[in-house]
Assembly symmetry: C2
Homo-oligomer: 93 residues x 2
């Protein structure tokens, strides 16, 4: 699997905002939803995109579903982006 899904998941502003929310820790789908002016169904759709892209993972407790950032995939994307960065030929000096 490649970066395609991950970058596509990052391309949506609602999903980016969800990720920023999750920086402060685990949250349930409902809590996340309350931060947006959208139906729970729509939030659920975005969460499934993020989960599919492995940017978050979920865990269940009672009838709640908790979402949490999966830091390691961010590292991978950063690594991929690095190839285009300014200091790519630093060692050629």
């Amino acid at each position: 699997m490649g970066y395609g899904e991950t970058l596509k998941a990052l391309a949506d502003p609602v999903r980016r905002e969800i990720l920023v929310l999750l920086k402060s820790g685990k949250m349930t789908a409902g809590e996340i939803g309350r931060h947006f002016n959208m139906t729970g169904a729509t939030i659920s759709y975005h969460l499934s995109m993020l989960k599919n892209a492995e940017l978050v993972f979920e865990s269940k407790y009672k009838n709640f579903v908790y979402y949490e950032i999966n830091a390691s995939v961010f590292e991978e994307i950063i690594l991929w982006l690095t190839q285009f960065g300014e200091n790519k030929n630093e060692n050629e000096k």
Copy 2:
């Protein structure tokens, strides 16, 4: 301006492939196009997305348009992604 446009530009596989091509240096729109099984019009559309996102910039010589990677914007995206990374609270130890 935010990361929205840039991340949206990165979300398309053709555009990512164009960026990889450009790693080896400046290329004309035509040269880029020859690497894909698509019309010049379509390539032009993708190049305009990349330019708009400031991931590349263009320069003109004769009737050619050259495209080139703009490394600095990659740095910005990397910086934004870093907030979600593993070592975010390194200094709390």
